[in-house]
């Protein structure tokens, strides 16, 4: 079974671009447009891969190395996330906090690359991204704490197994954790109401800002990384915070359905919610932190 899970995780590297593609398609339908096919991200990647890259004047090794390093972090992150409560052994361990560290390394790399270009729009995006990450990382850790409580471990496989079955849903703590993680998904995928992935106005960019100077294969790599971030948080959210049965095969099937449901939910939120003022975002995330902490308290107080 672990081999099946490992194959699934490796497939994640290939399948990740489907998720933003699916969200775009669903969003177009909800808005009454026909929209692109869910395979559009693959076409974009192919187009970008055949183009040559352009280096801004004065950039150096940091800028050049950033896209491969970011993608390496995200591949490692995809390989950490278990499927159906199981994961292959890639030598990376299975720890939730290592995943947090890998995402932080990717963020650092993107922001330093923005400094290397010296581009004002790229730096504006990087500064905002890192500011939101201050609150986002606290929120992520507290959500993971709530998920770690029933498992007594930060092993992602154990956390996913502990969340299996229906019983956990009688604990109010789990609902608090699920709410907090929903906000994490919005932050990490860079979707409305926190960030708008479709924006073409440089002044409003957050995640897209540091990508502004890249072209060709570099940009293709970074587009894949953005899609992989969707994969990591959506699969993790389905595995830790949404209902799923205990067996591997059944749980995997349910998780696939749940990831699609989460994509639909993201498309719904994107259609119905306007982007919020960036200075209000910390308030929202702070609220999430408080709820997650309350959940942790409830879980410890309620456990016998």
């Amino acid at each position: 079974m672990n081999i099946a899970a490992a194959v699934g995780q490796l497939l994640g590297v290939v399948l990740a671009p489907l998720l933003p593609g699916l969200i775009q398609t669903l969003k177009a339908r909800l808005q009454g447009r026909r929209g692109p096919s869910p395979l559009q991200p693959y076409r974009t990647l192919r187009r970008l891969w055949s183009k040559s890259a352009v280096d801004p004047e004065g950039t150096g090794v940091v800028y050049r190395l950033a896209p491969p390093l970011i993608v390496a972090c995200l591949i490692a992150a995809v390989l950490l996330v278990p499927l159906g409560g199981r994961a292959g052994s890639f030598g990376l361990g299975h720890d939730a906090l290592v995943l947090v560290g890998l995402l932080a390394l990717a963020r650092f790399t993107a922001a330093t690359a923005a400094w290397d270009t010296g581009n004002g729009f790229a730096l504006m995006g990087a500064a905002r991204d890192l500011m939101i990450a201050v609150f986002g990382e606290a929120l992520l850790l507290l959500a993971l704490l709530v998920a770690a409580l029933p498992a007594h471990s930060t092993d992602l496989r154990a956390m996913s197994t502990a969340a299996a079955g229906g019983q956990i849903w009688s604990a109010p703590a789990h609902w608090c954790g699920a709410f907090a993680f929903a906000l994490v998904i919005l932050v990490e995928t860079g979707r409305q109401p926190i960030d708008s992935p479709d924006t073409h106005l440089e002044l409003t960019m957050i995640h897209e800002g540091p990508l502004l100077e890249y072209a060709g294969r570099d940009l293709a790599l970074l587009h894949w990384a953005a899609a992989a971030r969707h994969w990591v948080v959506l699969v993790l959210g389905a595995g830790l915070f949404l209902p799923h049965p205990r067996g591997f095969a059944a749980s995997l099937g349910v998780e696939v359905a749940e990831v699609i449901a989460l994509c639909t939910a993201l498309a719904l939120v994107e259609t119905s919610e306007a982007k919020m003022r960036i200075l209000r975002v910390p308030l929202l995330l702070g609220l999430g932190c408080a709820i997650a902490l309350a959940g942790a308290g409830l879980s410890i107080g309620g456990a016998t």
Binding site: E57, V62, P68, A72, D116, G118, V134, L141, L156, A158
Partner: protein
């Protein structure tokens, strides 16, 4: 005397000789290298004492007679001191000569190192306090030998004032312990009752906490560390504050008898305030050395979080995790010592090359100073807590400790640990923001001044010191699992054989962090993807500024990059700014901007206290008229008052 003790004495003697040689004319370089040799010996002795669990010299005793000795805990700190001091001295060999008062500073460096070693080796109260005071005074003397303008004098005065007032706590704690015969004997203080325990715990926290830089007792630290010569700043921030933590650990973890639960909660609270406060104010600094000093406060806070979590876990009955949390704190001490020493040394090299440490005056140094810049990049990534470097290993352990402390009842304690977990995560993200800013402003982009464009790597000694420390950051990050069991065995109540050794961090109740494997996977993937991408590139183009020409005036500043966070946290940071716009002929001709973020603790705590003190002094001075008749009246009043009291039977 054991062989270990003999080698230790030989090392100390070598440092004394090195100090003497450094004071001679034209022998400064040789003197510093002799000191480095002595520190190497002492570092090896420390390492042996740590790994073999060997003891040398006398044990701790309450008698008032000078005694020196070594045990594994002292050995650990001595080994870390060796690891950081030797590269620092090699750096100083090429850095110090030629600066003002160089020979005096060189000799005082030896004295400072001996004082640090002495505190670690002291085995009785008198020796400890003597070396403790020397450790405070000698760097102050060295700073004044090197520079003595008004700003430096005022910084040194604040340093001595605050550390001495706060340092009284150390005297109180140790003398109370001595009084109860409890130096090295936890049973004695337990027998003395909880009153004495509470007094010792509070006094030690204040005394050692002042020296370690706990907020709100930290105010001297961002003043004193930046004004010292680079190698002394490195030793002060890298080791002196760690030696204060050594004292804290000795008293509160080994001699207190029973550790009360409130002490764990207090340490965690202090840790949250110090780590969040330290990194927030680091973020808004303009001066690189001041920024690094504030970041030291943050890291001391992280150590306090580990120590507090250890107490809470021991209180909840989880022995293994209490030992892990303790080891996490020690590992972070070692890690912070390496990367903070490195960063201060690099700051010194930058200052030499560019002539300024204002972040907005640097830029583009990675290309022009590849060795220095590369070392700085590694140090910054380590301090920002990024895998696979050493900062991440200890932060991972501290996060895990807090998370596991949050698994146990009572709910209140669990909530404190949970809140601290969130705060530490935010701290890590803030440190990331802070060091992205520093790396970007100093190393990347276009040079902001002509001096930066002309900067080159420094002499080989300075380069060697920085490269050794940067390698230490990498190596310690890759093999944390080999170090951890040794550190866990130092925890109170732990035994050596309990823990198995792995290459990575593989602990119960976690998904394991195989550091080396993560590093290899990341490196292989990056290399493979770089190959896959190929090197097909079009001609370079200017970066996109909406069609405007890219001019230096469009470059981003330190203030600009932190603006979103400053706006969000305006109520905490309370930034002050002045903008002057000069208009002429209906057009803006010129505008100037100046902004800074004052230290909140200074404005709400120290300044009102100083004002109140001065006001009280003004009132008190009215009594001192200088008129002899008034003084006669005071005496008369006193006599009458005493007579009245005696008459009414009060006296």
């Amino acid at each position: 005397m054991s062989a270990l003790g003999g080698v230790a004495l030989a090392g100390a003697l070598t440092i004394v000789i090195g100090g003497g040689v450094a004071a001679m004319r034209d022998r400064l370089r040789a003197g510093l290298l002799v000191q480095a040799a002595g520190m190497t010996l002492l570092g090896v002795v420390g390492l042996l004492a740590l790994t073999d669990g060997e003891r040398a010299g006398s044990a701790f005793r309450s008698a008032v007679a000078p005694a020196l000795g070594l045990d594994p805990l002292s050995g650990f700190f001595l080994a870390v001191l060796g690891l950081t001091a030797v590269p620092t001295l090699v750096f100083a060999r090429d850095y110090l000569p030629g600066s003002s008062g160089d020979r005096g500073v060189g000799a005082l460096t030896a004295g400072f190192l001996l004082a640090l070693v002495g505190v670690l080796a002291a085995r009785d109260v008198t020796t400890f306090l003597a070396f403790w005071e020397l450790m405070t005074l000698l760097p102050a003397a060295a700073i004044l030998v090197a520079k003595r303008d008004a700003a430096v004098r005022s910084a040194v005065y604040a340093y001595l004032g605050i550390t001495h007032v706060g340092g009284a706590g150390v005297w109180i704690a140790l003398l109370v312990l001595q009084h109860h015969g409890a130096i090295g004997d936890p049973a004695a203080l337990a027998a003395a009752g909880s009153g004495a325990q509470t007094l010792v715990a509070i006094a030690a926290s204040v005394g050692f906490g002042t020296k370690a830089g706990f907020i709100p007792l930290h105010s001297w630290l961002p003043r004193a560390h930046p004004v010292a010569p680079a190698h002394l700043s490195a030793l002060m921030s890298g080791m002196m504050i760690k030696v204060a933590l050594y004292g804290l650990i000795r008293v509160e973890f080994q001699w207190l008898g029973a550790t009360p639960r409130w002490l764990g909660i207090a340490l965690v609270t202090v840790g949250v305030v110090s780590s969040l406060g330290g990194v927030l104010w680091a973020l808004v600094q303009q001066d690189l050395k001041r920024l690094l000093a504030y970041s030291s406060i943050e890291n001391v806070g992280i150590v306090a979080l580990g120590l507090g979590a250890s107490l809470l876990l021991a209180d909840a009955g989880s022995r293994i995790w209490a030992a892990i949390a303790f080891a996490a704190a020690l590992l972070h001490i070692a890690n912070h010592a390496t990367f903070k020493t490195l960063l201060f040394l690099v700051a010194g090299a930058f200052e030499r090359a560019v002539g300024s440490l204002d972040l907005d005056h640097l830029g583009g140094l990675l290309r022009r100073m590849p060795w220095t810049g590369g070392a700085f990049l590694i140090g910054s990534m380590a301090i920002a807590g990024l895998p696979p470097l050493n900062g991440f290993a200890s932060e991972w352990l501290t996060l895990q400790s807090l998370l596991h402390a949050a698994l146990h009842r009572p709910v209140g304690v669990a909530l404190v640990a949970g809140a601290a977990l969130g705060a530490l995560a935010a701290t890590a993200a803030l440190a990331l923001l802070c060091f992205v800013k520093v790396v970007g402003l100093a190393l990347l982009g276009a040079p902001r001044r002509a001096e930066c464009a002309a900067a080159v790597d420094p002499a080989v000694g300075m380069r060697a010191g920085m490269v050794v420390l940067a390698s230490a950051c990498v190596v310690l990050g890759l093999i944390p699992g080999l170090v951890l069991p040794t550190l866990m065995s130092l925890a109170p109540g732990a035994r050596h054989s309990q823990f198995t050794r792995h290459l990575g961090l593989s602990l119960p109740g976690t998904g394991a962090y195989p550091a080396l494997a993560v590093a290899v996977v990341l490196a292989l993937l990056t290399a493979g993807l770089t190959r896959l991408r190929g090197s097909r590139r079009s001609a370079p183009a200017p970066s996109w500024a909406c069609g405007q020409p890219v001019v230096p005036a469009l470059g981003w500043t330190s203030a600009g990059f932190t603006k979103p966070l400053r706006l969000v946290l305006e109520s905490v940071l309370r930034p002050q700014r002045t903008i002057e716009v000069r208009e002429g002929g209906g057009m803006v001709q010129e505008s100037t901007y100046a902004g800074h973020v004052p230290s909140l603790v200074d404005t709400v705590l120290y300044e009102p206290t100083i004002r109140a003190g001065l006001r009280a002094a003004t009132v008190a001075r009215r009594l001192q008229t200088g008129n002899i008749r008034t003084y006669a009246a005071y005496l008369l009043g006193l006599v009458i008052g005493l007579l009245l009291l005696a008459r009414t039977g009060v006296l």
